[in-house]
Symmetry: C2
Subunit: 270 residues, 2 copies
């Protein structure tokens, strides 16, 4: 098993790479984790210029010697390479697993929409820095290496289709070629560091999209680090999401065990 | 001439109403400005509950005794009443002028998309509180009352179609039934209080929409009160917009004289 790590958004420290490689060597012998050197590059807001990040993604995705492409971390930047990357993926790219969340959602959406079968939302190498983060990284590896069912978000069912996204990222890809057909899917959402009025606005946007109204239902993961609203918004994030589900006729299905934290579980798409 | 003012987003002070009414009485005798009492209501983040704001909007829009509906101010909230309001507009609503900007963009977009002919982006009563704000209010009144060409954004041409929006608001209505067909239109954009990386993300979103790629071109108004980016984004807002125009093949047309300030000019849609 050979896992390539690339960073389409922001850079990671070499210490993260070493820690994750050590963890993998101990817990998953025979598994090799290769951090593409691009992960450590830095250009303005990003882990290298757009072309550098795109080439690194393509180098791993199109290389049949890699079994999986693991997103190094979130931040911002993957939307800037999505159109270029998705137009240049070859046959080897279709065989691979892809795992990440947060800003990686743009590419996960585009890959899933293009018919890639092994796309999943879950912890990334950078999560090792969180409190309890080693468990998060172990969880992702256990899905990548063994397809461990213990890694899965507990409501994930065999005969149901699923997808999971950060609310802002998902909102910002609606109406673009990256928007996948999620008809009949359970849509899991999570958020971090957004004012409640912004989440309300994003949920208007998401639930007003005619194609999104065809999902099987919405589950809400954790919404963390919410800045104080002035005036107080008067509703929790769950109330906001339930409100927009009710208005739009989308079934509200309850909580999802995902979020920007070490407890974030794996949600395979489809 | 009778102008009804409603507040689909956040409330205004009575002092604003008095100041605007006094200004109108002096500069535009014979023009009556009626602030609907809803403008002064307050409920959580909003100028009254959703149903209260929707009913006030409909009361003015559907009343043939009003010649114009003027949005009191921006903030957040008009997206929450848009679907309800747009489904209940009668024949009298089609004859009216509609003027506002910022959060009002959701309703301006929906009205224009529904074929309303007198929709415009421009200053609102609350702008009277800005430094030099009386000139902004006078400008809007001169357009509402006299269709003064002196009120218009200077690049507006007789034989070209135009539309103008706040970048975040426009991004957050893409892919919903509020998205108007802007094929062949000059699209003017402006922003306030958003980090540059967020503007970059919104411009990805806007310029990746296949229907938006059919606009005649983009002009950028002022982007004010930009919070500091960490790390520095390395591009100005104009560079961001030019970058996405270039990538998407949308013509970059230069600056627009619009923004969240007293100099904001009027842009009639269509």
């Amino acid at each position: 098993m050979r896992i390539g790590v690339v960073a389409p958004s922001t850079p990671v420290d070499r210490a993260v790479a070493e820690q994750v490689a050590a963890l993998a060597a101990e817990a998953f012998p025979g598994t090799q984790i290769v951090f593409h050197p691009q992960c450590f590059e830095s250009w303005r807001h990003f882990a290298g210029e757009d072309s550098v990040r795109a080439e690194a993604f393509l180098a791993v995705a199109n290389d049949p010697r890699f079994d999986a492409l693991w997103f190094a971390r979130g931040g911002y930047g993957s939307c800037r390479i999505a159109e270029d990357v998705l137009s240049r993926l070859g046959p080897a790219a279709r065989e691979k697993s892809y795992l990440g969340y947060s800003d990686a959602g743009y590419l996960l959406a585009g890959l899933y929409g293009a018919g890639f079968a092994k796309v999943a939302h879950g912890p990334m190498p950078q999560d090792v820095k969180r409190e309890g983060g080693e468990a998060a990284v172990h969880r992702s590896l256990s899905w990548l290496v063994d397809r461990s069912t213990g890694a899965l978000e507990p409501s994930v069912e065999e005969n149901t289709r699923h997808a999971a996204f950060n609310i802002t990222v998902f909102s910002q890809l609606l109406g673009t070629p990256l928007q996948p057909d999620l008809t009949g899917h359970v849509l899991m959402l999570e958020e971090v560091s957004e004012h409640t009025y912004r989440t309300d606005r994003s949920m208007f946007h998401i639930t007003s999209n005619p194609a999104i109204r065809r999902v099987a239902g919405i589950r809400l993961g954790r919404c963390s680090l919410v800045p104080e609203n002035d005036p107080d918004f008067g509703e929790t994030e769950e109330e906001v999401v339930r409100h927009w589900c009710e208005r739009s006729g989308i079934p509200w299905l309850g909580a999802a065990d995902i979020g920007h934290d070490a407890h974030n579980k794996v949600v395979p798409f489809g």
